[in-house]
Amino acid sequence: MRGGAMPLLMLPMAVLMALFFGAFAVFGFVSFLQPASGMPGYQGPLGLSNYLRFLTDPAALAILGETIVFAIVVTLASILLGYPLAYIMARSPYRVVRSLLLGALVLTFLSGSINRAYGWLILLGRRGVVNDALLALGLVDRPVALVYNWTGVFIALLHFTLPYFALTVFGSIRSVPVQVEEAARDLGAGPLSTFFRITVPITVPAIISGAALVFSLAISAFAFPLLLGGGRVRLISNYIYDQLFVAFNLPFAAASSTIFLVVAIATLCAFFWLEGAVTRRRAAKRGAA
């Protein structure tokens, strides 16, 4: 590409970015203002009171903390379930198995999250298939509460994030030449040893990228807690929504969003730093060898 065309080609994206970030900049500015008394809206003077209020309110901090812990748990579960799934999709000797799993995952990926939430409500409900099965098997005496609580939100969110993780890692596992694993096996490593000492370490950067993706989806979850939490599960997005639409305190909602954004970006930076560190270490090792 010739250098002259570049600025012109970048213009549409620059405008788009300016629009998005401009909107957030306005919101960020509002976070330093005060709510107008008695009605939605805001007024001066500028100050840090909204930030102070959030950072000194144990309830608000607890919700931020719970959201982060919950997002970490969902991320770990996605890794534990998603990696084997991706591995089977990439390495199963049976084509049917590979195609079926990949097809199911892509189908899940493409169906809307709201549809899935309602699907889970029906499956996991008191009179749902899962409870019917548990009762029929005699594992429980009365239906177990699987929705309208954290369990329901966790299951639905995990189901939502799993394809993101599995598909990210799937590509990476596929790109590891089968010969590398065969070489390990030839040198006497068992299947488990090959898996944990060869395949997994090679794909660590993909695991970290996938985990970062899952984490950012989980930490910003809004609809799943709303639909499946039965009013009991409140993540930070739901908290911010309440400040906007129940308390009508736009400046405080803006400050809460900004704090949340900073925490989320910091966590994501940690993920990327980790990914970079792993890649650098591997490059250094390769250099030494």
Binding site: G38, M39, L121, Y148, A223, G231, R232, D242, V246, A247
Partner: protein
């Protein structure tokens, strides 16, 4: 009234998108004799569309509906276009209207002499800047086939037999009325909600879900996820249509609420006022009563027999000072989320 949560979750996007669309569509796209009315989707489909059709036949003014998932979302949309609103009449809960119409730049007063039906309205239905379209109580709706014995009053809900089987609104939904009922039942009042929090906390083992959306709670009742629902009687009609057995009662104290119409400060105020007046007319109130199952605010209209059977006796009705509700609801909500909905 609340509608489906999925739309609630997309509300922020909708606000932005609507702004964009209306900016491009401009005045050229709108016919001269047309007004835009923002209301809840279900309410619109159930009956307001029919009202609007009658209005157009009579006046030649076309009504363009814009749906909102909840009145809070609707207000956010209105505020986003505050400089040149493209909505002429906005339907809202009375609590939110009381708060929002303090903004006299966005909303215009509704002069009584412009409403031919003003003299026929029930008490409390008309304020300076909003007029009620209908009223409804907070009632108990339940599935007789799934409960062991019929429910006679609010106190029955505390019976351990109802473990894990109730859906109650959260504080945001129906503007804290659940808390206020619990307070009144236990010697409290709007100025002393402490007994309400205590009683609601004691009710927790019986509550399966705290809902923020009518359609969600209705579905839970239809599926038997819950057997009892605290909400307006209009929740029962769609279930009955689907063949689900439901019973409704409005025991004392029955908080009565209005859904109201506000007049947005636009150049089409005259036409908008005509529409508001038409909604208050006996003809429109009949439709609202029979099709949406909401209490008519025009004294000359009798509620439909089915609705009359479940509306609370006048002596059992209670109403609350919206200004007090608005001043405290943010605090109530935080406390509710921290102590009860956990």
């Amino acid at each position: 009234m609340m509608q489906s949560i999925l739309r609630k979750s997309a509300s922020a996007l909708a606000v932005a998108a609507f702004g964009l669309v209306s900016a491009f569509a401009g005045p050229a796209a709108a016919a001269d004799k047309a007004i835009t009315v923002q209301a809840w989707g279900t309410t619109w489909e159930q009956g307001l569309q029919e009202v609007a059709d009658g209005f157009e036949k009579e006046t030649g003014i076309h009504v363009v509906p814009v749906t909102q998932s909840g009145s809070s979302d609707g207000l956010a949309r209105l505020q986003s276009m505050a400089d040149a609103p493209k909505i002429d009449v906005w339907f809202s809960t009375s609590s939110l209207a009381a708060r929002a119409t303090a903004d006299r730049k966005l909303f215009a007063p509704i002069p009584a002499d412009k409403l031919s039906n003003a003299k026929d309205l029930i008490d409390g239905a008309r304020m300076d800047a909003y007029v009620a379209a209908y009223y409804y109580p907070l009632s108990i709706i339940y599935r007789p086939s799934l409960v062991k014995k019929p429910i006679a009053g609010w106190k029955d809900l505390w019976d351990p037999a109802f473990k894990d089987s109730l859906a109650t609104p959260d504080v945001e939904t129906y503007a804290g009325r659940m808390l206020l009922v619990a307070a009144l039942l236990n010697g409290g009042s709007i100025d002393n909600v402490e007994p309400g929090f205590k009683a609601w906390k004691e009710l927790r083992p019986n509550i399966a879900m705290f809902y923020g959306s009518d359609s969600d709670s209705r579905r839970a009742l239809a599926q038997g996820e819950v057997t009892v629902l605290v909400g307006p009687p209009s929740q029962a009609a769609p279930l009955r249509t689907d063949g689900v057995d439901v019973a409704v009662l409005s025991p004392k104290p029955a908080p009565v609420m209005f859904d109201v119409m506000t007049l947005v400060n636009t150049p089409k105020q005259d036409m908008a006022l005509k529409f508001i007046d038409y909604v208050l007319s006996p003809k429109a109130q009949e439709i609202i009563s029979t099709k949406i199952d909401m209490g008519p605010v025009n004294k000359s209209v009798k509620p439909s027999p089915a609705l009359a059977a479940v509306l609370p006796a006048v002596a059992d009705q209670v109403s609350f000072d919206e200004a007090k509700v608005n001043a405290d609801i943010g605090t109530w909500n935080e406390r509710f989320k921290a102590e009860i909905a956990r």
